[in-house]
């Protein structure tokens, strides 16, 4: 498998880094892949732009940085606009449709939206929107098995919040399954036409 390069963008406090951490952990600890997480460090304070990058590979990751991501997880409008041009042409955009409205003429091929922030709010904790996104991303890309993701979530979130986070993950995962199902029950809320990803995650 060639490497999957994932960029997660949002603003500080959304759990962008944790999201990247769980993806990497699911792949490299609870699955048999290698995953390198890097994050853009800067003087950013809570609320400003931030991003995490994960490179997932069957073999050892040699070059740790993401250059041309084939998966972009956009959890904020700013993050989307900053990074959308870097996404590879056959790449996958996964976005929080409560916050991001993708361009009609965006360069990527596949786009999947989920109202993660709204779902999280409905579940009672806005802070878990990143885990809803993670579940959604997991189901859409099938990068690592669902159980590996769940184990990674369970072992990464604060003590006492595991149940809520796993519920958030499962909710996101189910929405993701629906989004990639050959026959969709409902039209995606995004104005953008959504195509079936196929094996794009492996690209």
């Amino acid at each position: 498998m060639a490497s999957s390069e994932i960029r997660i963008t949002g603003f500080g406090g959304q759990g962008v880094i944790l999201c990247g951490y769980i993806i990497g952990k699911a792949a490299s600890i609870f699955s048999d892949m290698n995953a390198t997480l890097t994050q853009s460090f800067g003087p950013e304070a809570r609320g400003s732009a931030c991003s995490a990058q994960v490179v997932v590979n069957d073999e050892r990751v040699l070059y740790p940085y993401v250059t041309v991501p084939n998966i972009l997880i956009a959890m904020s409008r700013d993050g989307y606009y900053t990074h959308k041009e870097t996404l590879s042409k056959d790449g996958i955009l996964v976005y929080d449709e409560s916050l991001v409205e993708p361009d009609e003429d965006a360069p990527h091929k596949y786009a999947y939206g989920i109202p993660a922030s709204r779902i999280a709010e409905e579940m009672g904790r806005k802070i878990i929107s990143n885990i809803v996104m993670l579940g959604f991303f997991g189901a859409v890309t099938k990068l690592v098995p669902r159980d590996a993701f769940r184990e990674a979530v369970e072992s990464s979130v604060p003590e006492g919040t595991q149940e809520l986070n796993l519920k958030a993950f499962d909710t996101g995962w189910e929405r993701g399954e629906e989004a990639v199902a050959p026959k969709k029950q409902s039209k995606p809320k995004s104005s953008r036409k959504t195509e079936v990803a196929g094996s794009a995650a492996g690209g």
Partner: protein, 385 residues
């Protein structure tokens, strides 16, 4: 001796290089850590501070880097395995008492998570430009031991190795990592405690009143004296004799400085560590260390795929420099290429040891990022011509 299971976080973890380094220190039996916050090294101190209380260790955040390194020197003579961490600006401040550690033959580990310099430079981005400072940063003549990890896994392993080398050779040892490795999160496999071999401090077998703190013959490593046991010994940064008493003359200086050099030089073969890949039939050998030794592999794979006979030497110890290896390689290859995140530091060591027997090329970088594989590939291609 094996590590104490209490100190070892056995299992597979998803850790960044800094956290892995902290776990390496704990596994090695580090019990005293004094530090001062400095990006991008701070996570090492943070993790040690969190983990120490239940392991019987003590962490102090000092007023500056001068105090941090000096406190660990004092604690080392107090019988503890000790460590501190910093980056460029703090590394500069620490050089004063790094020298005291060298002169007084005091074991401890100093971690430099390198960032871009000079001065405040690039606090959050990588560099490898403190390599010569590691070698010559404190005044006077001496030898150093410095290791360069390329991953969180190596951060864990090399930190333990650094502690072992510092006890074995009774001197401070440097771990020269960088921002990229320090902040990169990957799987780190921490073995069972009984799989981790540790070198414990060697104390004199002589009775109080008979043992002296700097008694050695030639390149032998003098055993230390335990504090508080009646030896009533003296330690000074002044040039001293075997008793530790100051002696200010050329003869004493020769005795002391030659010892400081010899204890590394005469054991260079035991200390120097490197990995070689595809060197046997190589026409071009790329040398690199730390994060650079990792990114070069992509370029090497590409060059090999195109039929260029290229090998890799990944230096694990950057000091002492692998002089003999470079001399041997230079006699049989067409070209040696050094890839490092600076504008030529270890390159000149390589060039010196090649003595004009082959072409030498520097693939330098001013820091702030890692090399692009295509740049390295182009250099390999040119070196092969």
């Amino acid at each position: 001796m094996q590590a104490d299971p209490k100190n070892v976080l056995t299992g597979s973890h998803y850790l960044d290089g800094n956290h892995a380094c902290a776990e390496g220190a704990l596994a090695a039996g580090c019990k005293f850590f004094a530090g001062y916050p400095l990006t991008p090294s701070t996570e090492i101190a943070e993790r040690v501070a969190r983990r120490f209380p239940m392991l019987g260790g003590i962490f102090v955040q000092m007023e500056d880097e001068l105090a941090s390194i000096t406190a660990i020197l004092g604690a080392s003579w107090g019988g503890k395995k000790t460590m501190t961490c910093t980056s460029g600006p703090g590394f500069s401040l620490m050089m004063e008492n790094f020298g005291l550690g060298i002169m007084t033959e005091t074991p401890f580990v100093l971690v430099n998570v390198q960032r871009g310099g000079p001065s405040t430079g690039l606090p959050t981005l990588p560099g490898q430009a403190d390599i010569m400072q590691a070698r010559w940063g404190s005044h006077g003549d001496y030898e150093v031991i410095a290791l360069a990890p390329d991953s969180p896994q190596e951060c864990f392993e090399f930190t333990i190795d650094a502690f072992n080398l510092s006890e074995k050779y009774r001197m401070p040892v440097l771990l020269m990592t960088d921002e990229c490795v320090g902040h990169m999160t990957e799987r780190v496999v921490i073995p069972e405690a009984d799989q981790i071999e540790l070198v414990e401090r060697r104390y004199t077998k002589k009775k109080p009143g008979e043992g002296w703190p700097f008694e050695h013959n030639g390149s032998d490593i003098p055993p230390m004296l335990p504090i508080g046991e009646g030896y009533r010994f003296h330690v000074t940064g002044l040039t001293h004799d075997y008793r530790g008493y100051p002696v200010i003359d050329a003869e004493a200086q020769k005795w002391k400085v030659e010892h400081l050099m010899d204890k590394v030089r005469k054991h260079a073969d035991e200390i120097i560590r490197y990995e070689q890949e595809g060197v046997e039939d190589a026409e071009v050998v790329v040398m690199a260390y730390g994060i650079s030794s990792r990114v070069v592999r992509r370029a090497i794979d590409q060059a090999r795929a195109e039929g260029i006979k290229v090998g890799l030497v990944k230096l694990i110890t950057i000091w002492p420099f692998a002089e003999k290896l470079v001399a041997e390689l230079s006699a049989k290859v067409k070209s040696l290429v050094m890839v490092e995140l600076n504008m030529g530091q270890l390159y000149y060591e390589m060039e010196r040891c090649a003595r004009g027997r082959c072409k030498t090329t520097l693939v330098g970088h001013t820091g702030g990022a890692v090399h692009k594989p295509e740049v390295i590939y182009a250099a390999i291609k040119e070196a092969a011509q």
